[in-house]
């Protein structure tokens, strides 16, 4: 009986030793947003269009619609038009509804020309929903400049 009380008391003191050691150790938290940590380059985020190797002014997209069909959440809308004198369609608008996107990567994988990649944008924030209806063609044009 006395032995139980003594072993019990010693176990409590050991536990207190752990917390007091932690009390004097440095903090492990990062004071975001004043300090930031490096985000891995493979972080997903929303997708972006990739420039064509031969013609860096255009994207690789051929408006086949595979990403739109394969998306599980119906978040993609691909709109293209056939311009005069061109054999293939060109992409005019690519609407990604990021509010329903689950970042699964099926669109990236199923694209036959590898036109999509993850952007790694990890802290988008806004006050209204419309900011998250990304138009990837407009963002591509902005990045060209």
């Amino acid at each position: 009986m006395v032995k139980e009380v003594i072993t019990g008391a010693i176990s409590l003191l050991k536990g207190m030793g752990v917390t007091i050691k932690a009390f004097f150790s440095p903090v492990v938290t990062v004071q975001y947003p004043r300090e930031t940590i490096n985000i891995t380059p493979r972080f997903r985020g929303h997708t972006k269009l990739v420039a064509d190797d031969e013609n860096p002014d255009k994207t690789r997209c051929i408006v086949c619609g595979m990403c739109e069909r394969n998306c599980p959440s119906n978040s993609i809308q691909v709109i293209g038009e056939k311009k005069e004198g061109e054999k293939k369609k060109t992409l005019t608008k690519y609407i990604l509804n990021f509010t329903t996107c689950s970042q699964c990567g099926i669109c990236v994988e199923s694209c036959p020309t590898d036109a999509l990649a993850f952007s790694g944008d990890y802290n988008p924030a806004s006050f209204n929903k419309e900011t998250f209806y990304y138009d990837l063609v407009a963002e591509f044009e902005k990045r060209k400049k």
Binding site: V18, T40, R44
Partner: protein, 522 residues
């Protein structure tokens, strides 16, 4: 097979058919009728089989109830089917033989409309009101009026005059959205009834409307703490169905990432369990450790919690040297932290008194309820799907299984701590043997059309035995996908275990099960 001779002796009218295990996941298939299904169930429980799953498939001319019986000590799985008339579906209940069938049958009732004769409590399990059609039927079958009476009929406070307490859907303790209605006498519990369905998202119906590739994100969102294990289960099941071979490197990387996920799930359970008991500090320490794992996995897969990393035939992308270095550093760090957890938690006399000899299960529970995972290993039965039915690279790596002796909360706690250490060993060995080579099998069709048939495959998620049953009809959309989740059968043991205990003990027991409610509700 000797079991089929035994079946033929007891039931001369049945003809068990032998099925190829590699293709179907079960060894025998038996067609039963309404008159002998109860006797078949009695036969199987005498032979120490447990009911692994009970589901229903709607072939439009008839409904088929599918029972899966398995054994704990031998690899033997038997499928029993029962055809039911689709106009007025009904079947005899087996809930007086196998307790777990109580909830399985309630679920089949609310999704398919099958009435089970003799069921003691035919009330909806997940859906609570405003149902007009049975959801999982292929055609729109309206709910008849006498069934609509059963909606919203669970009102215990109005039926009896006792002291009812709601361990409500919102808790300060991090279980998830579980409501337990508890009838109390002072501090002692007389009856505990879990009420589910607060997080029901109908994943099984979504599976019937999406192609096999489009279902990837859904698998991770069912159990977000063991997401890679659920991913692995889904991908392995479909690969077995189609006969796709996965390259060696991919198998090893799958093993390593799934074990990392298992450790992170157990770490979160440790923090939450202690937060239930009142010690709020270890929660922060385990999250510190867990953060290292999440950073490693983020560097490989790109996500932190709901991964979509595995693909049919391999992985989404390869691992690099940073991963290997990071994992080695993490293993050393976590090994040095275990002694700290011992001093802070395991040896603490207050913790021991809260947890020892509480929530003791006897040996009949695994057979009657089909509980799995650390819950069954704490009873002393070394039942682990990684050794029982090996998948990925587990049959090439040598590891130990942690078991307990007393089946109380303390043993469940110790089993999980030991499992974390064993997982570290597995990761170390797998890293040493990591082969080079491709990470994806070639020639996988973009639109996967598996051959006609069905398959039942199980894996070991951090909570126990996860079973996936897919019925395919040669189109690119599954005909029926059924997920048999471990927390379902574990939670079913709670009402019986909680009778007559103090409410503080009941909460400690609930915490030691490691429940994740989204996977129960699917």
């Amino acid at each position: 097979m000797e079991i089929s001779t035994k079946i033929k002796e007891s039931f001369p009218s049945l003809e068990p058919k032998e099925c190829p295990y590699e293709q179907n996941g079960y060894h025998l298939s038996i067609e039963a009728t309404k008159s002998n299904i109860v006797d078949i169930a009695r036969f199987f429980i005498k032979e120490d089989f447990y009911l692994a799953d009970l589901c229903c498939v709607d072939y439009i001319d008839y409904l088929e109830l599918v029972y899966f019986f398995s054994k704990h000590d031998k690899l033997l799985r038997i499928k029993v089917t029962l055809k039911i008339d689709p106009e007025k579906p009904s079947a005899p209940t087996i809930s007086h033989i196998y307790n777990i069938a109580h909830w399985f049958e309630r679920e089949i009732h609310e999704f398919f409309g099958v009435l089970f004769d003799g069921h003691p409590f035919m009330v909806y399990l997940f859906l609570h009101d405003q149902i007009d059609f049975y959801s999982l039927r292929k055609k729109q079958v309206p709910v008849p009026d006498e069934d609509k009476r059963l909606l919203n009929s669970f009102k215990p406070e109005e039926q009896e005059d006792g002291f009812f307490l709601n361990l409500g859907p919102q808790h300060p303790s991090t279980h998830g959205v579980l409501r337990v209605v508890v009838k109390m006498n002072g501090e002692y519990i007389l009856e505990a009834i879990p009420v589910l369905g607060y997080l029901h998202r109908m994943h099984e119906k979504m599976a019937e409307n999406r192609t096999y590739q489009q279902f990837y994100p859904n698998a991770a969102r069912m159990d977000y703490l063991g997401a890679l294990n659920f991913n692995l289960g889904y991908v392995t099941t479909v690969e077995k169905l189609c006969g796709i071979e996965v390259p060696e490197r991919a198998q090893y990387i799958r093993t390593i990432t799934c074990e990392l996920n298992r450790i992170s799930s157990h770490l979160l359970w440790l923090g939450a369990f202690l937060a239930d008991l009142g010690g709020l500090t270890p929660f922060l320490y385990t999250f510190d450790d867990r953060e290292q794992i999440l950073d490693i996995l983020e560097a490989v897969t790109g996500s932190r919690l709901t991964y979509s990393y595995f693909r049919f035939g391999g992985l989404f992308n390869d691992v690099d040297d940073n991963f290997v270095d990071g994992v080695k550093k993490f293993i050393n760090r976590l090994r040095s932290r275990f002694s700290m957890y011992d001093r802070l938690v395991t040896g603490n006399v207050i913790f021991i008194n809260r947890v020892k000899d509480i929530g003791v299960m006897d040996r009949s529970y695994p057979i009657r309820y089909g509980c799995s995972g650390p819950v069954i290993r704490s009873i002393g039965i070394p039942f682990d799907m990684r050794k029982h039915e090996p998948y990925a690279a587990y049959d090439r790596i040598d590891f130990k299984i942690a078991t307990g002796t007393n089946a109380d909360n303390m043993d469940r706690y110790l089993v999980r701590i030991q499992e974390m250490e064993n997982s570290l060993d597995i990761i170390e060995k797998a890293l040493k043997e990591l082969p080079t080579g491709p990470i994806k099998a070639d020639k996988i069709p973009k639109k996967l059309k598996p051959p006609k048939g069905d398959i039942y495959h199980t894996i070991e998620s951090p909570r126990g035995e996860l079973g996936i049953y897919i019925v395919s009809d040669e189109s690119d959309v599954p005909y029926r996908m059924r997920w048999r989740v471990p927390s379902y059968s574990n939670l079913m043991t709670f009402p019986e275990l909680a009778k007559g205990t103090l409410i503080a003990d009941a909460i400690a027991t609930l915490g030691s099960y490691d429940l994740v409610i989204p996977e129960i509700d699917r």
